[in-house]
């Protein structure tokens, strides 16, 4: 069954085309990796799906509901949740409170009592591995801890579809391994995932499918090993490497 459907999605910023005619679908239970060089439009696509930006044209359907014009909070409550490329914790709240905010506001049906919410929030912190920091102010976490918090808070809204923006960027191999385990655990909870993974250190290990973008256009989609052999994808990535070697 198709969970998310993007229909010829366009996004321009002052005549600059950040995304051009994106058609794509994500099936329920899938893990899809979203890859592409810097500036390809990956984060922009997340901003469109989560309602932060409105597309210039095209439609976004979630569970066959047209969410193109909904506000971010409404989209979250329908069951789409996200993390941010650079984490955005609520710095003055404790780590536990950050997650509780997700519980309290993420779903309309979440009128649980405080203690129940707290218990559930603690479990999520345990899952992402920062339970020992529950009472620390979120502003004091390390970057990798902030990413985990972002993830726990997103999970607290009980999403059907979770959008992860560069969760594992800059992670050491050990941390990447933990992230892979974490993602598999999340999937077992019945969550569909769309994972932005510029450095390809995560998505090749967990994804069922890849979607490759370059300059705002879809250049390939399919099973990871096929997409990674696609000449256009290679060119996009190698071209990038060329440039970065020069400067």
């Amino acid at each position: 069954m198709i969970l998310l459907r993007l229909k010829s999605l366009n996004k321009t910023f002052n005549h600059f085309c950040a995304l051009t005619d994106i058609d794509f679908s994500v099936g329920e239970g899938e893990i899809v990796g979203l890859v592409g060089p810097n500036g390809a439009g990956k984060t922009t696509l997340f901003n469109l799906i989560s309602g932060r930006y409105k597309p210039s044209s095209g439609n976004i359907l979630f569970k066959d509901i047209d969410i193109t014009h909904l506000k971010p909070h409404a989209i979250c409550r329908l069951g789409i949740s996200r993390t941010f490329q650079s984490s955005r914790p609520f710095p003055g709240m404790s780590v536990l409170q950050n997650v509780m905010v997700g519980h309290v506001f993420g779903k309309r049906s979440s009128l649980h009592s405080r203690p129940e919410n707290k218990q559930a929030a603690k479990e999520l912190l345990d899952i992402v591995g920062i339970a020992h920091k529950a009472d620390a102010p979120a502003g004091r976490l390390t970057l990798s801890e902030q990413r985990r918090l972002d993830l726990a808070r997103a999970l607290a809204t009980r999403p059907k579809l979770l959008l992860l923006d560069e969760v594992a960027a800059g992670f050491s191999p050990v941390l990447v391994k933990q992230a892979v385990e974490l993602i598999n655990r999340v999937r077992k909870r019945g969550v569909t995932l769309l994972i932005i993974d510029h450095f390809l250190n995560l998505s090749l290990k967990v994804s069922d499918r890849l979607l490759a973008l370059d300059h705002g256009e879809k250049i390939a989609e399919g099973p990871p090993h096929v997409v990674m052999r696609n000449p256009e994808v290679l060119r996009a990535y190698l071209g990038l490497r060329h440039e970065s070697e020069r400067d």
Binding site: K71, H73, M93, S94
Partner: protein, 334 residues
Amino acid sequence: MENDKKTMNFLTAKNRLNKSKTHWIGLFLGFMLFFALPLLVQSNHYILQVFTHALLLAALALAWDLLGASGSISLGHAAFFGAGAYASALLGLDLGLSPWATIPLAGLIATGLGLIMGLICLRLRGAYFALATLAFVEIPWVITDNWDSLTRGSLGLVGISGLPSIRIHGFHVDFGSSIVVSYYLIFAYFMILLGLVAFVHQSNIGLALQAIREEEIAAEAVGIHVNGYRLLSLLMSAFFTGVCGACYAHLVRYIEPGLVYGLHFSAVPMIFAICGGRLTILGPAVAAMVLYPMDQFVFHPLLPAGHEFLYGAVLILAMLFMPNGFWGRLRNAS
């Protein structure tokens, strides 16, 4: 033990009211002090008048900070204060209604004005929001100034009835009859508002406002209806500011547009909130209770013409050295 500590930390972070023992004792002593004040000063008319105004300004600062909690700085609360003052006075003068009815009605009229301000200004953030609210005050001010047949225009209103009286089973208190009873009525309003503000802060509304203030983009992404909560905080703030204005009208019994819509009543609650600690519950009120009497008892006799410079000086000092306000600083230190 470990668990207890966790719960404690959770509470301090969660409720801006620090729930430590000393805090409650301090709160109780403060309450007793103000409760006993008329006895302590032997009903000295002038002193009680100053503290009645201080309590009213403290309530005004609390009301202002209900919006402040959402991260928005308003420079236009005189709009609600003035509209509340005029609404209550006119409903009393023209329709003969009791202040018991006109004061809450004034709050509702101020809330209506808050709705209009919200629709116009809430799409803005930061300095742009502040400037828009500053300009917004002109709307009710110009209307009041020019709609002579309704408001008597710029001449102002005289003969406003005093604060109301109550009669329960033969027990009769006339709150307007002496400054002592007026003091207690304003004190009661202040305590009720303080309780409400504390309640809002520890409720889900408070949690949403804190999230919006600290990281708006994340707040909307986790399901918080950002503009809904910002509007709610503005409406609550407008209501209680309108009630403050209404109380002011019945306390002073004379108002004119320049007095109630002037910059004074926009700036003063902001100054108290920032000096006392915008992100604390009690800070704005404590600042009002300290600064206003200081202004009246110390600086007014010294500098009759320019005594209000105190507020400017304190505001600048607070922003330079205690950006979290002195109450916030005290709390962080303990």
